[in-house]
Amino acid sequence: MDSILENYKTVQVKSVKVWFKVASVNDFPTDGGACVKYKDKQIAVYNFKRTNSWYACQNLCPHKLEMVLSRGMIGDQGGIPKVACPMHKKTFSLETGENLNGDLGAIATYPVKIENNIVYIGFSE
């Protein structure tokens, strides 16, 4: 059961091998998220229009192992950008992946870059 969690490991910008081209910036909701398929992975990508920042993390919520995080509401806690899982409102930092309102394990985060209005996510494989 935990093996599906193993599929998601945080990627740092310096270890990116593939910049995967996802979609146009305009396809994303403003101040909201969407889910991206990359090989056998599901990645949640968020457009923080208010701060002009983008974040990506695993779509899998570690609480009950459901593929739902992209459908969660985003916002911040004391300045840390976060997502709230739509199932039971566990919240996670989109910077470190840390569970902000509980002691679940951290979720994996991925780098995002925007070039020519296109969204790319960085993977190490």
Binding site: I4, V22, D31, M73, G75, D76, P81, A84
Partner: protein
């Protein structure tokens, strides 16, 4: 630097480490912890939750990294086999030797397995560790494959046995409890309360066998097939969980000649020292005052004492009397006992309140002079436990008529006992030993300004959580006493209350979230609390649907459907008043069949189709809409259903057309967004088949018109609606309801149902009558107009969505692929399907 070796990394061993590293002087010690289990200490008290989610991590007391961060060396999967007191070392099962200056034995206990013939058979389990549970789960799955109706028994009807009974139910086996004594929970309950508990448990499907001594475990080929009690008295079962008590794991104490109890346990003094002053024993292995305490709270106290003693605080001692009060929720039934639960008549009087039809039993024991509370038992409803327990612990005065302590509070009468009456030393959180004084002082010296702050400063409420309501009351009353306004801000992004935001949005005419946040927020970017709140206010003020600014909607509103356990959604079309034509029923059936949806009649008397994927939602709705259906708003904080009975249309007792009126009301208020959901009911006569008084608004037809009831609620705190007006006509009902609902939408707190709002409304029902009927505030006309605007502007948001290609984009699982979520797994159930269990 001195070395402390802790043997046993269970709940108490862990607590010792946690306490030790927060104390002054701890830097001079190095801690090494050995645990026999493969993982770091976990919360055994909540072990049963493992059946719900199989998530071992969620039970961890602290992750491995915590030990590292605190310089504690944790060695798991390693049993210690010997203590060499002479040279002050221990050896592990792999013959490694470690020196110690102090040794802490926290080896806990193991399940006692009585020497019954056949207990060694496959399919017989104990219930103590995560591994035990994993083995049970896989065995249960195996036997269920051969026999879907397989039975399992639990030997022992005590506290743990009943927990195990719940586990058996959760595994989908037919549960049986076999108890040797003539009652359940013989240590905590008296005969009558245990009978009440038994009735309740039987009503939810537990089979209970009392006064049964098991002679042998029957079986073929080494597998259990049954239990034998007497010659012709057998029970066929394919699995057995033994829960017949615990035995301290004291083997290390025995082999190194520490002083032992006659029936086991390592003897300790009030410093938690064993007969060797460098060796301490704590938790379920320690025999203190000739007792093993099978509860976690005394174990935590022992950890505190041992940690303080090692650090030289020699005056921190274990009290002589240990409070064994307990409160638990067994299979959804509250059970609590405190102080002396059973008491001989010579010591005092008992007051007993019993209601078998509601599975309720309350008993309190009062001293002969009627002045103090000695103990008691609560079954079925333990809401009073915290207060009673405090009164008992602190020897507080009790009312002249002690029955008041347990009788249901009469309407309007203040219930006895208020947190502010407690003495400072009253222990509010017994898991973490936090007193009232400590809680008040973190607020008084400014370290905490709200409940979350108090919890993080004191750790109160982080154990079993039972004291949370008390901590909240105490926090608020302390803040109030200090003249600090109890923060009404909706979250960290707004200091304003919902009511303030309502006025601001209305006056300034804001139309999107960012405007509100930029002009009135605290500089952040919003969160899951303030976004849906502002969305709801915009909906009330501007008659927006949830499609307008979908990213600020609660996730259910964003996708116009309720998210289910596996990330799929439910589809609930509106069926006003519960009236539906055969053609529409057929259409529902055909659509459900086409998309393979699980179909069920809901408690709101309409039909719910479950298991739709995100992509399917608009397709399904398109078809429903073409058959004349519209959104049922089952996902919104909005009107759900107006339940009706068939009324004078068919019923021989009907006084009026409840169906027609119910439909009219449901159609009038459909779509409006409110602080919480709203439900209505209309009954054709006082027999009340529509359960109207359990709804936010209810109507009952009587001679000469309708009786209107307001503020009812089902849910966790059921409340009957109150009679607001009698014998009024349809038009007046609508006028009053418009005003009532609008006034509620303007003034309630976020997520407050009408019942809770009305209860806290200063002036109560009389005040409401003044506002609604007599227009004391001069706002009636505004309320009428605001509601009429909402009614006129209604639009079905699903029709909006399926007709707009831009909106339809929202309903794709992936932004870069048309594929469906490949993570979904359904399993068959009774000719339909359900999500695979968590």
């Amino acid at each position: 630097m001195k070395t402390i070796v802790v043997i046993g990394n269970g709940m108490v061993g862990y607590k010792f480490c946690e306490k030790f590293v927060t104390k002054e002087g701890h830097e001079n010690y190095k801690i090494i912890v050995f645990g026999e289990e493969p993982r770091p200490a976990y919360d055994r008290v909540h072990l049963s939750e493992f059946f719900e989610n199989q998530d071992a991590k969620a039970l961890e007391m602290a992750p491995r990294s915590w030990y590292e961060e605190n310089n504690i060396q944790l060695i798991t999967d390693t049993r210690i086999t010997d203590i060499h007191r002479g040279k002050k070392t221990i050896t592990s099962v792999s013959e490694e030797e470690f020196p110690y200056d102090y040794l802490v034995l926290a080896t806990g206990s193991s399940a006692f397995v009585p020497p019954i013939k056949g207990v060694e058979k496959e399919g017989v389990f104990v219930y103590r560790t995560i591994e035990d549970l994993e083995r049970m789960l896989s065995y249960a799955a195996k036997i269920k494959e051969n026999n879907p109706n397989a039975r399992a028994a639990v030997l022992g009807g005590g506290l743990l046995g009943l927990e195990a009974g719940k586990a058996v139910m959760d595994m989908g086996l037919e549960p049986h409890i076999v108890e040797f004594a003539s009652k359940l929970m013989p240590r905590q309950l008296d005969l009558r309360s245990s009978q009440v508990l038994q009735l309740k448990l039987e009503s939810i499907g537990l089979n209970i066998h009392l006064s049964k001594a098991t002679n042998q475990i029957l079986g073929d080929d080494g597998f259990i097939t049954g239990m034998e009690f007497g010659e012709d008295d057998k029970l066929d079962v394919e699995m057995l969980i033994i829960s017949a008590g615990i035995r301290p794991r004291d083997e290390l104490g025995k082999t190194c000649d520490l002083e032992m109890g006659v029936r086991g346990g390592i003897v300790v003094n009030n410093k938690m020292q064993t007969s060797d002053q460098n060796i301490f024993a704590i938790g379920e292995v320690a025999l203190y005052n000739h007792m093993i305490y099978g509860l976690v709270a005394p174990g935590y106290d022992m950890a505190e004492i041992a940690a303080s003693q090692i650090l030289g605080q020699s005056d921190v001692l274990m009290p002589d009397e240990i409070d064994m009060s307990t409160k638990l929720k067994l299979i959804g039934v509250d059970v609590a006992s405190f102080g002396e639960p059973f008491m001989p008549a010579s010591k005092g009087h008992s007051i007993i309140f019993e209601n078998k039809t509601q599975h309720l039993y309350k008993r309190i024991n009062v001293s002969l002079d009627g002045k103090s509370l000695l103990g008691g038992i609560l079954v079925g409803d333990a809401a009073d436990y915290n207060m009673l327990h405090q009164i008992y612990l602190n020897g507080m005065a009790i009312p002249e008529d002690p029955a008041q302590l347990i009788l249901p509070a009469s309407e309007g009468g203040a219930s006895f006992g208020d947190v502010s009456d407690l003495p400072d030393e009253a222990q509010v959180c017994s898991c973490e030993s936090v007193t009232k004084g400590q809680i008040c002082s973190v607020i008084e010296n400014g370290d905490a300004t709200d409940v979350a702050g108090v919890v993080s400063c004191t750790k109160a409420g982080t154990g079993c959580g039972g004291c949370k309501p008390m901590v909240t009351d105490l926090t608020n009353s302390t803040l109030k006493a200090l003249g600090i306004e109890v923060k009404e801000g909706v979250c960290e992004h707004f200091d304003l209350s919902r009511q303030d935001l309502y006025k601001i949005i209305q006056v300034k005419g804001y139309t999107n979230f960012n405007e509100v946040l930029d002009n009135h927020g605290n500089g952040g970017h919003g969160c899951e609390l303030c976004k849906p709140l502002v969305a709801s206010l915009m909906a009330t003020i501007n008659a927006d649907t949830a499609n307008k600014e979908y990213a600020i909607q609660d996730s259910n509103d964003r996708f116009l459907a309720n998210i289910q356990r596996n990330g799929t959604y439910s589809v609930v079309p509106r069926v006003p008043g519960g009236e539906i034509t055969p053609d529409k029923l057929i259409a529902l059936g055909q659509i459900a069949k086409k998309y393979d949806l699980y179909t069920k009649v809901t408690g709101g008397v309409r039909i719910d189709l479950f298991g739709a994927t995100l992509q399917q939602l608009p397709l399904i709705w398109k078809e429903l809409i073409s058959h004349g259906f519209e959104s049922g708003h089952a996902y919104g904080k909005s009107l759900r259903t107006v339940k009706t009975c068939v009324g004078s249309t068919w019923c021989r007792y009907g006084m009026d057309e409840s169906v027609s009126f119910g439909i009219e009301l449901e159609n009038r208020y459909r779509g409006i967004r409110a602080p919480h959901k709203i439900k209505g009911g209309v009954s054709g006569c006082i027999r009340e088949c529509a359960e109207a008084r359990g709804k936010d608004f209810g109507l009952i037809a009587v001679e000469g018109g309708w009786n209107l009831y307001l503020g009812g609620n089902g849910g966790a705190n059921p409340r009957h609606a109150e009679l607001f007006a009698e014998q009024i006509d349809n038009e007046t009902v609508i006028k009053y309801l418009d005003r009532y609902l609008m006034f509620y939408m303007r003034t309630a707190k976020p997520l407050q149902r009408t019942a809770a709002w009305q209860e806290r409304l200063e002036g109560g029902l009389d005040y409401l009558k003044e506002v609604i009927i007599e227009d004391k505030l001069g706002i009636a006309e505004d309320l009428d107009n605001e509601m009429q605007t909402l009614v006129n502007k209604f639009e079905c948001e699903w029709t909006q969505a399926v007709n707009d290609p831009e909106m339809m984009k929202r309903f794709n699982h992936f932004i870069n692929s048309d594929e469906e979520d490949d993570n979904l797994v359904f399993i068959p159930m009774r000719e339909q399907k359900m999500p695979k269990a968590w």
